[in-house]
C-alpha cells in the first residue's frame, strides 16, 4: 500500500539528490515526490508517496533512513491522518471548435479550468486528489490527449493534527517545534 510522508529538509543544494539517492539505494519504490519552499526560506518541504508492501515496517525503515541524512530535519507519516491531498495536472487536449463544448462540459463537472485555447487544442488545468485527476484523464483520453504534466501529490494535515513520528525522541514533536528549530540554523 502507498504511504505518504512529509519531510522537512534544509533548503540547500544537493538535498533532493540525497533523498532520491537514498530511496534508490535502499530499494524503496517512489510513487510520487513533490518538493517546494515553505514559509521558512531555510526549509524545503517534500511530500513523498512510497509503496510499502510490508506496511508499517517499511514505513519505519523509510523514516529511520531519512533521518540518517543530516539535512533531513523532520519526517512525519500522514498516511493514516486526516489530510488534504492535492495533485495538479495540465492536460493539452486535441480538440477543434466542434467538440470544445464537450471538453468544457467535462471541465465544469470536474471543477477544472480551461487555461489556454488554440485553434486545434485546449489546455485543461485540474487540481484534486489523484483519483479525481485519473478520472478526468480517463474521459479526456478518447478525445485525444496531446501532452500532460503533473506536479505529484502534495499533502497537509487538517487542523491541529500532525503526522505520526516513529523515531525515538521524535514522537511528541510538533510541526511548530520543528520550524522553530529550523529558525536556529546558521
Amino acid at each position: 500500500m502507498n504511504y505518504t510522508f512529509i519531510a522537512l529538509v534544509e533548503n540547500k543544494p544537493g538535498v533532493l539528490n540525497r533523498v532520491a539517492s537514498l530511496f534508490r539505494r535502499r530499494n524503496f519504490n517512489i510513487e510520487s515526490l513533490a518538493v517546494g519552499r515553505t514559509e521558512n526560506p531555510e526549509v524545503s518541504r517534500m511530500t513523498v508517496v512510497v509503496d510499502c508492501p510490508n506496511g508499517d515496517m517499511d514505513a519505519h525503515r523509510i523514516e529511520a533512513n531519512l533521518y540518517k541524512l543530516v539535512n533531513v530535519i523532520d519526517v512525519q507519516d500522514v498516511t493514516h491522518q486526516p489530510v488534504v491531498t492535492r495533485d495538479l495536472a495540465l492536460i493539452k487536449v486535441r480538440v477543434g471548435p466542434e467538440r470544445r463544448a464537450e471538453v468544457n462540459g467535462l471541465t465544469e463537472i470536474f471543477r477544472a479550468r480551461i487555461v489556454d485555447v488554440a485553434p486545434d487544442s485546449v489546455i485543461v488545468e485540474i487540481t484534486g486528489t489523484e483519483d479525481k485527476i485519473e478520472g478526468m484523464i480517463e474521459l479526456l483520453c478518447p478525445i485525444g490527449i496531446v501532452e500532460m504534466v503533473r506536479t505529484g501529490q502534495i499533502s497537509m494535515t487538517r487542523g491541529v493534527h500532525d503526522g505520526v513520528r516513529r523515531m525515538p525522541g521524535m514522537e511528541s514533536r510538533r510541526y511548530e517545534d520543528v520550524m522553530e528549530m529550523a529558525e536556529m540554523m546558521p
Partner: protein, 561 residues
C-alpha cells in the same frame, strides 16, 4: 584574524586534536599542502590513496579518535573510494579532505575534475562541497562532530581550490548547529522495563556483542551486565576484544565461521541481547530459521538498524554504554547453570574437532601459526588483517582480551586492508607490538605501502600466509562448485626479495621447526619486517555455515583418522 582557506583547514585540524594526516598531494590541494608546513601536524606520504584511507581507518580504530586522510581531486579522490566504503561499513570515524577544481570550473569537465561528493554520497555518513573560504571552518567543525558522534562514520569534505587560496576572517565555531542531526543516546524507562521483563523470564539468554560496544567504550558495562546476569557472550567479527576471550562467559565468535557451540547456543537460546550489532547476514545465516525460540532485545544507536534484518521484541535505541548502565541496576542476579552446562557440552564436542588439538604433522597450518604468534606476543599485539581465510583463522585463534587491538575489514571485506591499517595503527600506538596478517592475494594489492612503513619507521610486522591460492574463493569452489578451480591459482612474486627491495628485512618459513625462531627474529627487528609462511595449500576454514543456510547447519572439520 584574516587567513587563507588552506590555513583555516590546518587551524581546524589542530583544534580537533589531529596529530597525523595520511595523504597524497596534487594539483587541486597544493595550497593545503603549502600551508601545512607551518602547522604541527605530521603528514604521512602514502604510496596510493587507498593506502592512506586504510591508514586513517586503522589509526581511528586503534586510537578511538577521528582519522584524517587527504587526496587531490579526480583520481586522487576516486582512489580513496574503497577506503571510504570500508570505513562506512564498519562505522569508523574518518574525515576525508579532498581538493576540488575551482568553483567556477565545476561542471565543465576541467582537468582532474570529478564529482566526488556525488560518487561518495552512498558511502559516507555525510559529505560536503565547499566553494568558499568562509565555509571551511564551520564545515570541518561539523565534519568532525558528525564523524565521531552517534553511529560514527566517514565524512568527506571536498574543498575547491579557490576556497583554499581566498582569505577570510577565521572564526572557529564554538559549537555545531545541526537541526537534522540529533543522535539519541538514552532509551525511555518503559522500554527498559519491557527488556527487564524478558530478562527475568529467560532461561537461555545470550549476549551478542558487536562493534558498537567498542565504539561506545562499553566494555566495562558489558562485563558488569554479563557477570551479574551470568549471560554468555558471543561476539561478532568486529566485536572481538570487547569481552575478554579468556573469560568463562566468553563464547568467542559467532556466524559463518563462528564457533560451532556458539552458533548452537544462539539457535537454542530463548533470549538474544544484541549489544551494538546489526544482524548482518554473515552472523545470522538464513533469517527464516534464525534463533527461532528467542525473544530479542536490540541495543543500537542507529534506529535504521532496528527491525532491519531481524524483527526485535524490544528495541532500545541509544548509546550502548548509556543503555546498558541504565539496565544494570534494574536486572536481578542469575546463575543460569543449566544453560551454561548445555553450552559446555557442545563446546567439548567442538574442541575434539579443533585443529588446535591435532598432533604435529610437519605441515604449516595457518591456525597453528596464528596461535604461535599469539603465544609469542602474549596475546597483546594489535593485529590487523586482510580479508579471507587468514582473516577468519586470525579471528578464531588470536584470542583477544582487550579492545581496540583487532583491526579488520568486516562489513566491506576489503582486501589489501592489513598492511596500511597496521601502519595507521602504529601512529596511534607506537609502544605496542603490531602484526599485520595477510594472504598472498591481499598483500599484493597494497604492498607498495611497505615503503611508507620504511620512510616512517613504522614498527609493524607482516605475516604473509602464502598458500598460492585465493584461499577463500578456492574453499568456496571446493565446497560449492564441485572443486572447479577458476581464477584462484595465484603466482606470487618472491615476497622476501620484494620486501628487501623496499628495504624491509624478510624471511621465508617453510618448515614447522623454523616458525618460532622466525617470529622471534621479526619481533627483534626495530621497524618493519616481513615473514612469508608457505602454508598448506588446500586447508579450509571450519566450521562453515554455507551462505543462505541455517546457522546450525555447519560444515565441520573432518575428524582426523
Amino acid at each position: 584574524m584574516k587567513l587563507k582557506g588552506a590555513e583555516i583547514v590546518w587551524e581546524c585540524l589542530v583544534r580537533e586534536g589531529v596529530e597525523v594526516v595520511f595523504g597524497y598531494p596534487g594539483g587541486a590541494n597544493m595550497p593545503i599542502y603549502d600551508a601545512m608546513l607551518n602547522y604541527p601536524v605530521h603528514h604521512v606520504l602514502v604510496r596510493h590513496e587507498q593506502g592512506g584511507a586504510h591508514m586513517a581507518d586503522g589509526y581511528a580504530r586503534a586510537s578511538g579518535k577521528v582519522g584524517v586522510a587527504m587526496a587531490t581531486s579526480g583520481p586522487g579522490a576516486t582512489n580513496l573510494v574503497t577506503g571510504i566504503c570500508t570505513a562506512m561499513m564498519d562505522s569508523v570515524p574518518v574525515v576525508f579532505i579532498t581538493g576540488q577544481v575551482a568553483a567556477h570550473l565545476i561542471g565543465g569537465d576541467a582537468f582532474q575534475e570529478t564529482d566526488v561528493t556525488g560518487i561518495t554520497l552512498p558511502i559516507t555518513k555525510h559529505n560536503y562541497l565547499v566553494t568558499r573560504a568562509d565555509e571551511i571552518a564551520e564545515t570541518l567543525r561539523e565534519a568532525f562532530y558528525i564523524a565521531r558522534s552517534g553511529r560514527p562514520g566517514p565524512v568527506l569534505v571536498d574543498i575547491c581550490k579557490n576556497a583554499q587560496v581566498e582569505t577570510c576572517e577565521f572564526v572557529y565555531p564554538e559549537d555545531v548547529r545541526l537541526p537534522g542531526y540529533q543522535p539519541v543516546t538514552r532509551s525511555p524507562r518503559n522500554l527498559l522495563d519491557d527488556a527487564v521483563k524478558l530478562i527475568e523470564k529467560a532461561k537461555k539468554p545470550i549476549i551478542l556483542c558487536g562493534h558498537g560496544v567498542i565504539m561506545s567504550n562499553a566494555e566495562e558495562e558489558l562485563m558488569q551486565f554479563a557477570v551479574k546476569t551470568q549471560t554468555p557472550v558471543a561476539s561478532t567479527l568486529l566485536g572481538l576484544g570487547a569481552f575478554p576471550a579468556s573469560h568463562e562467559l566468553s563464547l568467542g565468535m559467532m556466524g559463518m565461521h563462528g564457533e560451532a557451540h556458539t552458533n548452537l547456543a544462539i539457535q537454542n537460546s530463548d533470549l538474544i541481547l544484541a549489544f551494538g550489532m546489526r544482524f548482518d547476514d554473515r552472523v545470522t545465516g538464513t533469517l527464516k530459521t534464525y534463533a527461532p525460540k528467542a525473544k530479542k532485545i536490540h541495543i543500537e544507536i542507529d534506529p535504521s538498524e532496528v527491525h532491519k534484518n531481524v524483527f526485535v521484541d524490544v528495541p532500545l535505541v541509544g548509546d550502548v554504554k548509556t543503555v546498558v548502565s541504565d539496565l544494570i541496576p534494574l536486572v536481578d542476579e542469575y546463575d543460569h547453570d543449566e544453560w551454561k552446562q548445555e553450552i559446555n557440552g557442545w563446546k567439548n564436542e567442538a574442541d575434539s574437532r579443533s585443529i588446535m588439538n591435532w598432533e604435529e604433522d610437519g605441515k604449516l597450518y595457518v591456525a597453528h601459526l596464528i596461535a604461535d604468534i599469539w603465544k609469542a606476543t602474549g596475546g597483546g599485539a594489535i593485529v590487523t588483517t586482510d580479508v579471507g581465510q587468514h582473516q577468519m583463522w586470525t579471528a578464531q585463534y588470536y584470542q583477544l582480551d582487550k579492545p581496540n587491538r583487532w583491526i579488520t575489514s568486516g562489513g566491506a571485506g576489503t582486501m589489501g586492508f592489513g598492511l596500511p591499517s597496521a601502519i595507521g595503527a602504529w601512529f596511534a600506538a607506537k609502544d605496542q607490538e603490531i602484526w599485520a596478517v595477510a594472504g598472498d592475494g591481499g598483500f599484493q594489492m597494497t604492498a607498495a605501502e611497505l615503503t611508507t612503513a620504511v620512510q616512517e619507521g613504522a614498527n609493524v610486522k607482516v605475516a604473509i600466509m602464502n598458500n598460492s591460492f585465493l584461499g577463500m574463493v578456492r574453499q568456496w569452489q571446493e565446497f560449492f562448485f564441485e572443486k572447479r578451480y577458476s581464477a584462484v591459482n595465484m603466482l606470487a612474486p618472491d615476497f622476501v626479495k620484494l620486501a628487501e627491495a623496499h628495504g624491509v628485512p624478510a624471511k621465508r618459513v617453510t618448515k614447522r621447526e623454523e616458525v618460532n625462531e622466525a617470529i622471534e627474529w621479526a619481533r627483534s627487528i626495530k621497524g618493519p619486517a616481513v615473514l612469508e609462511f608457505r602454508v598448506e595449500m588446500e586447508d579450509a576454514v571450519y566450521p562453515m555455515v554455507p551462505a543462505g543456510a541455517a546457522l546450525h547447519e555447519m560444515i565441520r572439520r573432518p575428524v582426523k583418522a
